[in-house]
């Protein structure tokens, strides 16, 4: 990272009205989902598989992953591309936000009363001026087994 050491860049996105952030170092790209294939028998968090420039990507429905209820917003389905164990995944979110450069020192630990489902995948909270940003851990998002245990 070319940034000064105590600054971290995050790609932000909203899911169910909440702002989340992923370290930019783990994000490959951001793309619009056009056609997706359902995977029968798969865990509910798996939205399906899709073809992104010749690569098969497994899409994770972040609403389901974060146990957020409510309808999907209209418009394009957006996803954040990440790599995990040399496999490609897409995290489907409601909307992509801007990239924020934040001081590492500004991060607080998860509050005790955080929803256990969120606490399992959140690495802390960044306080922005007008709202809170939940920092997510990419590896833990993809650890569905762990989720089942925690739930």
């Amino acid at each position: 990272m070319s940034v000064t050491e105590n600054q971290i860049e995050y790609v932000t996105a909203t899911v169910g009205g909440q702002l989340f952030g992923l370290p930019i170092s783990r994000v490959l790209d951001v793309f619009a989902v056009e056609r997706m294939t359902r995977v029968p028998l798969a865990p509910p968090e798996i939205a399906g598989v899709l073809n992104l420039r010749g690569r098969v990507i497994t899409a994770i429905d972040m609403r389901k992953r974060l146990s957020v209820t409510g309808g999907k917003p209209a418009g394009k389905t957006m996803a954040i591309g990440i790599e995990h164990r040399s496999e490609h995944y897409g995290l489907i979110v409601d909307a992509i936000g801007e990239v924020l450069k934040l001081p590492a020192a500004g991060r607080e630990a998860n509050p005790m009363n955080l929803d256990p489902c969120w606490a399992a995948i959140a690495e802390g909270i960044q306080k922005l001026e007008d709202r809170l940003l939940v920092i997510l851990n990419v590896d833990r998002i993809l650890d569905l087994q762990h989720k089942t245990l925690a739930a």
């Binding site: 056609r35 294939t37 359902r38 995977v39 029968p40 028998l41 798969a42 865990p43 798996i46 598989v49 899709l50 073809n51 010749g54 098969v56 497994t58 995990h84 164990r85 496999e87 490609h88 995944y89 993809l142 569905l144």
Partner: protein
């Protein structure tokens, strides 16, 4: 890292692996000079390169090892201690190499310990070896005087003392006179000497050697061994020529291969996959395009893509034997460490596997073989007590099956101890005291994390990390692992590895608006079902079945299998994809069938790998991603439904037990006379009605064109009038590629009844008569007709009898089945001996145990098939036999019981095709093992 060093490391690693294997072989055949020559050359090359690269530690070590091997060459007895020592040396070399790879420097430390021991070993026999064949001229020719020479520092490890060198040098001269042009002089004068052949790599010219003498001791190291090697005199000359020839052959082979970075191949593979996908997209375009100019070039592009793809795939394939190369050494070391006698038998080494997969299964395989040696095989004493041969056997086999590669690891050891597994599972809280689990369910616990039942923790295994790690590794490559174990008999692990990167032909189907790919390899046929078609789906409670050629085909709807939305209304049109997995045939109901397409199999992402019904995913020509169904997974998920029905089976079983005879399906027909005739339905491949006008008569035989070939038709008996018009019903029998039709007048019915035959046996073609559905019925002898249809039917069998025909002992209490199956097996090329019961079978085997298979009925009066199997397995003379159980009632519980008794396989009593294909399969494996 510098290229030179890199090359050296790669090459040396390869050489050392070969040395490992060769040494173990050499220990067994100490007189095989070829092997020794091979090892010697490899070590010698390594040593030479080390010197060149300036790696003193390695050089000294390999030098000492080479010296010992040189002594072997000169006739020093090959002891297991010496071989172990060299193996140890090689391990040390590997350690040094590992460090070298990491830091580009030899690690600190010394190998004096090993070198001393190596030197001691070679010294022990030094005298007779060096002086080996004392040539008479020696005395006369050596004119120089030996001067006591001293070196002003202690010898470095691996160095040879000046005295030794002198002696070696002097003795070399024994062969010199024949070749050296200049007259031999005293050793202290330098003369130009010539050798009448080119120098071999690593050898030093006589001149250099000569010069080396008065010069620094540093260069001696190199010269000495080269010279010592020659000390054997002329006796070695032929051998050396032989070696030169071999070496030059090797060089030419080397020149035909090229080292390529794996990354390069990987990239190539990815690009080819993309090319295939692009080709598929183009195919989609040209399909819809009217432009015929496109078609020709596209066809070419398509073919070339195909060939390119095959070619690139091949570059990635490696024989699985590469992953096994270390195992003989591992087993050898373990047997000496554990004090057991173990024989490792490998077959199917040439089975090719993607190199990536190969890397990934290497460790699990090694671990499992270690496990078998440590836990599986008993100590010789215990084996003796159990009536087994003292030498335990671990078998490793690889072969292809249904688009997968199967690797089997089996041992004839003590098997798993279910009671101990149970106790441990309870202790770990995995199950409760009251849980009732089947043997095989219990055995599966060994795959649970931290589950080791080894009573004592040895250095080899039993450390609690074990089978769970193996299972995880195999899961990771999308494979499965299964085990069968019989207490006291041994354990077999079966690993199934998918060809993940393979490009396969697949049938594209649709259900609930989702498309899926089914690998073509598993698809037998397609059946179209609509309102008017003759095929109808019928229901037995909740199970759907289809009558297909008078057999009931179990059906599963893809919608319910994959938990898709069920159909709201009865569909007007459906398709059944008939699939075969192993010997199981079933139909999968889908909404729609499209075309077949070549697809690039991409493995399921990690998260989706647990779904057994899927084997991967792919991108279609139109760019969409679809899921590939796994035939094996589907078969087993249907199987689990069957398991639920097992309890029901039991009741029938008990009920059936009352009468000793079982009901079988019989086809009842009329032919020639008024009497009713019958034949077991299972023996008939098909029932057909053909247009009588199509029957041709030639060469005294009736024929009909059938499925693209001529099929001979036979009357049931002489005097039968062949119809001239109308339709002619036929019973069609198909054996391998041959088919035969028996002409009958009328097919009456299919009945299920017990078959109790009284042998009349005088009329040809009739086995006897039986009461079927209350009427006396003649039972047709199918075996009678086969040779009539094909004169060579029996010749064929005879011809193969001479060339190592497999022999089968067939045990059945029913005369009918003995008479029925014997000719069928004969015609498949086996020599069959029939026995009427367990007792007779045992007495036959007592006289002559030279059979390959025992095929036995289960329910027999006197001794049951289970009891027979127990007896055969207990007797060392017959314990090697491949036992196949025939039973009309194959509930999982019975199959389990059979396995416990020692049956290798269970086949439905009337599954003739299944039996023969099983025999063939096993036979192939025998042949490979031999």
């Amino acid at each position: 890292m510098n290229d030179l060093l890199q090359d050296f490391l790669t090459e040396t690693h390869e050489s050392l692996d070969v040395v490992d294997v060769e040494l173990v072989r050499f220990e067994k055949e100490p007189n095989n000079e070829k092997i020794l020559g091979n090892i010697f050359r490899l070590v010698h090359t390594i040593k030479g390169t080390c010197g060149f690269l300036g790696l003193p530690r390695l050089e000294a070590l390999t030098h000492a090892a080479e010296t010992v091997m040189g002594k072997f060459r000169d006739g020093m007895p090959v002891t297991s201690v010496a071989v172990t020592l060299i193996l140890e040396t090689i391990d040390r070399v590997k350690e040094i190499l590992a460090e070298l790879e990491r830091s580009e420097n030899e690690p600190e430390g010394t190998d004096d310990d090993l070198i001393k021991r190596l030197e001691k070993t070679s010294m022990r026999d030094a005298k007779p070896a060096v002086a080996a064949p004392p040539m008479p001229e020696v005395q006369g020719i050596t004119t120089g005087t030996l001067v006591e020479q001293t070196l002003e520092r202690p010898l470095r490890p691996g160095e040879v003392s000046l005295d030794d060198l002198e002696r070696a040098f002097r003795e070399t001269k024994t062969e010199a006179p024949a070749r050296v042009s200049a007259p031999p002089h005293a050793a202290n004068t330098l003369v130009s000497q010539t050798l009448e052949r080119p120098l071999q790599p690593g050898e030093v010219s006589l001149d250099e050697l000569e010069r080396a003498f008065p010069e620094t001791p540093a260069s001696e190291k190199k010269s000495a061994p080269a010279q010592v090697r020659r000390s054997g005199g002329d006796r070695r000359e032929d051998e050396r020529r032989e070696e030169e020839r071999r070496e030059s052959e090797q060089t030419s082979v080397k020149n035909q291969t090229l080292r390529v970075q794996v990354d390069t191949l990987e990239r190539l593979m990815t690009m080819v996959s993309e090319l295939v996908l692009t080709r598929n997209q183009l195919l989609e375009v040209t399909r819809n395009s009217e432009n015929s100019d496109l078609k020709g070039p596209f066809q070419r592009l398509s073919n070339i893509t195909g060939e390119l793809q095959d070619g690139v795939m091949k570059t990635r394939m490696q024989p699985i034997g590469n992953a096994w190369a270390k195992l003989p050494r591992v087993v050898r070391d373990l047997s000496s460490e554990l004090g057991k006698k173990i024989n490792l038998v490998m077959s199917g080494e040439e089975t090719e596997l993607d190199r990536q997969l190969l890397e990934l299964i290497k460790d699990p395989l090694t671990h499992m073989v270690r496990n078998s040696a440590d836990h599986g095989i008993e100590e010789a004493v215990d084996r003796h007590k159990a009536g087994k041969p003292e030498v335990g056997t671990i078998r490793l086999a690889a072969y292809h099956e249904g688009g997968h590669i199967i690797v089997e690891i089996s041992d004839d050891g003590r098997g798993l101890d279910s009671s101990r597994i149970r106790a441990k599972a309870i202790r770990q809280g995995l199950i409760s005291e009251t849980d009732k689990l089947s043997e095989s369910q219990l055995q599966k616990f060994i795959f649970a994390p931290g589950f080791s039942t080894a009573a004592k923790v040895t250095s080899v295994s039993g450390r609690g990390v074990g089978m769970d790690v193996v299972k995880t590794n195999i899961d990771q490559i999308g494979g499965t692992i299964d085990l069968k174990s019989v207490a006291g008999k041994g354990t077999t692990f079966k690993i199934k590895i998918p060809l993940t990167l393979a490009i396969v032909n697949a049938l594209i189907v649709e259900s609930d608006s989702e498309r899926f790919a089914i690998p073509q390899i598993a698809v037998v046929e397609l059946v179209h079902i609509d309102m008017d078609s003759e095929h109808k789906i019928e229901r037995l409670k909740d199970s759907a079945v289809l009558r297909l050629r008078d057999k009931l085909l179990p059906l599963v709807d893809l919608r319910s299998l994959l938990e898709l939305r069920p159909l709201e209304t009865e569909a007007a049109e459906l398709f059944v994809v008939v699939m075969q997995v192993g010997s199981r045939i079933f139909g999968v109901v889908v909404d729609q069938v499209f075309h077949t397409e070549e697809i690039v199999v991409k493995p399921m992402s990690h998260m989706l790998r647990g779904i057994e019904q899927f084997s991967g995913k792919t991108i279609l020509g139109d760019g969409s991603v679809i899921i590939i169904l796994d035939p094996n997974g589907i078969a087993s998920s249907i199987g689990s439904m069957a398991e639920n029905a097992a309890t029901l089976d039991h009741k029938i079983d008990a009920h059936e037990g009352e009468g000793s005879l079982r009901k079988i399906s019989l086809l009842v027909f009329r032919a020639g006379t008024d009497e009713i005739k019958a034949v077991p339905l299972s023996l008939i491949t098909r029932l057909e009605e053909i247009d009588a006008s199509k029957i041709e008569f030639s060469n005294g035989k009736h024929m009909v064109q059938y499925r693209g070939g001529l099929m001979p038709l036979l009357p049931v008996r002489e005097g039968f009038t062949v119809r001239k018009e109308g339709s002619q019903p036929l019973l069609v029998f198909i054996e391998k590629e041959r088919s035969m039709g028996i002409m009958v007048d009328e097919i009456v019915d299919i009945v299920e009844d017990r078959l109790e035959i009284e042998i009349a046996g005088k009329v040809p073609g009739v086995l006897g008569s039986a009461i079927i559905a209350g009427r006396a019925t003649e039972i047709l002898d199918v075996g009678h007709y086969l040779p009539l249809a094909f004169e060579d039917w029996l010749h064929r069998a005879d011809a193969s009898t001479s060339a190592g025909t497999r022999r089968i002992l067939f045990v059945d209490d029913s005369v009918f089945f003995r008479n029925m199956l014997t000719p069928v097996l004969n015609s498949a090329g086996y020599e069959v001996k029939a026995a009427s019961g367990g007792a007779e079978a045992i007495s036959i085997l007592e006289r002559d145990a030279d059979f390959d298979f025992v095929v036995s009925d289960i329910e027999m009066p006197g001794m049951t098939g289970f009891e027979l199997a127990d007896k055969l397995r207990a007797n060392p003379r017959t314990s090697h036999l491949f036992l196949i159980a025939l039973s009309s009632l194959n509930s999982p519980a019975r199959v389990e019981r059979g396995k416990q008794a020692g049956f290798n396989h269970f086949i439905a009593k009337f599954d003739r095709g299944g039996l023969i294909s099983l025999l063939k399969q096993t036979e192939t494996r025998f042949a490979e093992a031999a």
